[in-house]
């Protein structure tokens, strides 16, 4: 970077000063590179698919970011979304609930799983990594027990989530809506302030006489609700509830947060970062497919990008655990 002209360096410096500056800059570069590499990238059809693919990931990344901002971690998104999707589909197809009731049931399942995670962390005092690892495993187990490993088909009515509204699919409106809700929640509410504060210095918050445990419980539950919505989106997109939906998504959720500039140590990051991160991660896959890159190699590319983002984030941090 020594030969970089002064002006450019100053511009870069100014951009990266804002929490969201770095991720947005990376996104702009990725979009520019992608459209140069593949002319089909910018076609409306491709962009529509891209956004549809981003929506569920964006939702779980938003949920995950609330947990990471608190200085904890959540490994349960993938299983929670599958469980919510499957229970909702079963309610609809097997038990004959109305569509809107089935959707609500799915969301409640997510909130419940999140609440269990929260209770395990605050009451049973289990580190979040372990508590949510248990949910990851047990949640998937429940899904397989409920479905006996078979997909639940015939969910064409879930299409309400994929139909277009003012030229944009409802799902995409949903992720924009939840992005906005998360922004307001984290930046404009008491729970948001305490979320950042707990991630920044939990000890100080405890000495301030704040009920830290309640904040944690609320955040874990809400995050569970977000994962559930992602699960319902998957039902809508595929019109089938697969028992293996969301397999490995927890890692994509965490990766989206990292790409979006959420510090894994907690307390730092813009609430909209995860949306940007989720879009970048989906875009990367999309472009690699358009370019016909070996699908196995795509994993490697994602890994390299993630490391690059992490290095950019942890500059100046002395120890990382």
């Amino acid at each position: 970077m020594v030969s970089t002209p002064r002006n450019l360096r100053e511009i870069l410096g100014a951009v990266t000063k804002y929490e969201l500056g770095g991720p947005l800059l990376a996104l702009a570069l990725l979009v520019a590179a992608s459209s140069a590499l593949s002319p089909r990238f910018l076609e409306p059809y491709n962009q529509r698919i891209l956004l549809l693919q981003t929506a569920p990931l964006a939702l779980i990344a938003l949920g995950e970011s609330m947990i990471i901002l608190m200085g904890s971690i959540d490994l349960s998104p993938g299983s929670t979304m599958a469980l919510a999707g499957v229970v909702s589909a079963a309610a609809f197809r097997v038990y004959g609930f109305q569509l809107h009731a089935s959707l609500a049931i799915g969301a409640l399942v997510g909130l419940a799983v999140g609440a269990v995670n929260g209770l395990l962390v605050t009451k049973a005092r289990i580190p979040s990594f372990v508590a949510t690892l248990a949910s990851l495993v047990a949640g998937r187990g429940l899904v397989l027990v409920l479905t006996e490993g078979q997909p639940i088909v015939g969910l064409s009515q879930y299409r309400v989530l994929t139909i277009e509204l003012v030229g944009v699919p409802v799902m995409v409106w949903l992720f924009i809506l939840f992005g906005a809700i998360n922004y307001v929640l984290l930046k404009r509410t008491s729970v948001g302030l305490l979320t950042y504060a707990i991630g920044g210095n939990e000890e100080a918050v405890r000495y301030s006489g704040v009920r830290v445990d309640i904040v944690k419980l609320v955040n874990f539950s809400l995050a569970g609700g977000y994962y559930a919505i992602a699960g319902l989106m998957m039902n809508a997109r595929l019109e089938v509830a697969y028992p293996w939906t969301g397999w490995g998504y927890e890692l994509d959720a965490i990766a989206s947060c990292v790409l979006g500039g959420i510090m894994l140590s907690g307390g730092v990051g813009n609430p909209l970062g995860p949306v940007v991160g989720a879009y970048m991660l989906t875009l990367l896959t999309n472009v690699l497919i358009l370019l016909g890159v070996n699908p196995y190699l795509q994993w490697v590319v994602k890994g390299v990008v993630l490391v690059t983002a992490a290095v950019a984030l942890t500059r100046g941090v002395r120890y990382v655990k």
Binding site: R188, S190, V191, V205, Y207, R211
Partner: protein, 513 residues
């Protein structure tokens, strides 16, 4: 002038260590003789630990020179130091708890010899470990796990490890602070034995009486400056403590305002024989009792390790209490957490602001409203920027926090202004019983005076204040009554009337821990 005599094994010249925002050492000349126990004492933050960490390669000095046996050396890391025969026995044990004693000693050897992949025969290892344990008079099975050992035994294992590393110069960073007096006695015997065998030791402690039990020479550090070095036989505990506390600050203390004759009718806070659990770390409080009345400042004076921080934390439920009672306004209180304490109007303002008092990446305003944010938000949820700004603005004005921008990040404030933010936060909660732990520690003199005046004026407004301090002058300037605490016990309680500094100092130092 600086002369190297043959008997000096280690010396430093003009050691300066700067940390971001703080100068921990301001040009320290120090020397250690062959077969000597050289004690380094000083208040919290005087730079004692920094000095031995530089000698042992944990930190590198910003400026200054180090000589080992007259030869100038560069110590860039712990390995360099160990090669020169210098080892640090850390304040917190640096042993691996889940490995056996023998394995821990072996680890040290690998570190020095660079044979990470050396094959260790268990029998040899055990034999080796037994030899070194013998040297520190520790009769334990070398196969026992370190996690099952007591604190005192761990210290001795660390020393055994240092000897195994062939260290001639052993730095001990407050080895006695977690020990009982019996354990400390054993440690001293071992140290004396090692001294006779030709080892040299730098011994850091905050208990002055220990200097006179074991050390040959003593050096006093204050605010990063060496203020005193003398043979122990030529000085007295009183002189050492006087140097530790410093004198020139006196003129800055506000003249003591005689509190309006307090009407001590019913105590707002009554503590009856409070006893805490001993968890290996920190000091165990035993049978601490006192009353604090409305409008009163109770100065709790004790040196580092006396138990005053533990007392503060126990009062807000952050330290486990095993027996004793706390009454607030005559009603028996159950305090299990700071949440319970705040409901009763008790707020603890910690000594370590950055670790326990503030969320430094948040703004001044965020930190001040933090405990109350549910109340200032509409429907407990939606934050009211206007309300928050006006609350923060009011405190910024009345406590004169600089800069006056409520959205300024706390990380970038000076120590004094950070402390004001913590005080603002505590006052905003509406708590009437404030427990201030070293409220002026590490703060520049001007702000120190301001904060002291503030504490006095809070008392005259009717707040009850428990002032935990190791600063004798601060206690004398502010308190209505003074309680002296040492080794977790109250040793004296008295009215602050015609009390002389000298008498109070002698009470602190006269205690045998």
């Amino acid at each position: 002038m600086f002369k190297l005599s043959s008997e000096i094994v280690l010396s430093t010249k003009g050691i300066v260590k700067e940390f971001p925002g703080v100068v921990a050492l301001k040009g320290v000349d120090f020397d250690l003789r062959q077969s000597e126990i050289h004690s380094v004492v000083g208040q919290n933050g005087a730079g004692k630990s920094t000095l031995v960490k530089i000698l042992s390669g944990v930190y590198t000095p910003t400026r200054g020179e180090i000589f080992v046996r007259g030869v100038r050396v560069r110590i860039r890391n712990v390995r360099d130091a160990k090669k020169l025969g210098i080892t640090l026995v850390h304040q917190e044990a640096t042993l691996v708890p889940n490995l056996s004693v023998a394995e821990n000693i072996a680890l040290a050897l690998y570190g020095v010899r660079g044979t990470v992949f050396a094959r260790a025969k268990e029998k040899e290892l055990l034999e080796l470990a037994r030899n070194y344990l013998e040297l520190v008079k520790l009769r334990i099975d070398p196969r026992s796990k370190v996690r099952d050992l007591g604190v005192g035994e761990r210290q001795l294992v660390q020393i055994a490890r240092a000897i195994a590393e062939n260290a001639d110069i052993i730095c001990l960073d407050e080895p006695t602070s977690p020990l009982t007096s019996m354990e400390a006695k054993v440690l001293f015997e071992v140290m004396e034995e090692l001294r006779k065998k030709g080892k040299s030791m730098v011994f850091i402690t905050h208990r002055v009486e220990e200097v006179f039990q074991i050390a040959n020479r003593v050096t006093v550090l204050r605010d990063g400056v060496k203020v005193f070095t003398e043979d122990v036989s030529k000085t007295s505990p009183y002189e050492v403590i006087k140097h530790m506390l410093g004198k020139e600050l006196e003129e800055f203390y506000p003249p003591r305002v005689e509190a309006k004759s307090l009407s001590r009718v019913s105590p707002r806070l009554r503590v009856v024989s409070l006893t805490t659990a001993s968890n290996g770390k920190g000091v165990k409080l035993e049978g601490v009792s006192f009353d604090v009345y409305p409008g009163e400042i109770l100065g709790v004076v004790g040196l580092l390790g006396s138990g005053k921080t533990e007392l503060g934390k126990a009062l807000v439920g952050a330290q486990r209490v095993v027996s004793g009672e706390i009454y607030v306004n005559g009603v028996k209180a159950t305090i299990k957490s700071p949440v319970d304490a705040l409901k009763l109007g008790i707020f603890y303002i910690p000594e370590d602001r950055r670790r326990e008092g503030l969320v430094t990446q948040l703004t001044i305003s965020d930190n001040i409203v933090l405990p109350k944010v549910f109340k200032t938000s509409s429907m407990s949820l939606i934050r009211q920027a206007q309300v928050e700004r006006s609350i923060a603005g009011r405190w910024i004005k009345s406590l004169r926090i600089v800069p006056s921008d409520p959205s300024f990040k706390v990380a970038n404030l000076s120590g004094g202004n950070q402390q004001k933010v913590v005080i603002a936060k505590s006052l905003e909660t509406g708590a009437k019983i404030l427990i201030l732990d070293e409220p002026t520690f590490g703060i520049d003199i001007g702000t120190k005076v301001e904060i002291r005046k503030l504490i006095r004026s809070l008392a005259s407004e009717g707040y009850s204040i428990v002032l935990l301090t190791s600063d004798v002058d601060e206690a004398l300037a502010l308190s209505d009554r003074i309680l002296v605490i040492a080794s977790g016990r109250v040793t004296n309680v008295m009215e602050n009337r015609n009390l002389s500094r000298e008498i109070l100092i002698s009470m602190l130092g006269g205690q045998v821990g």
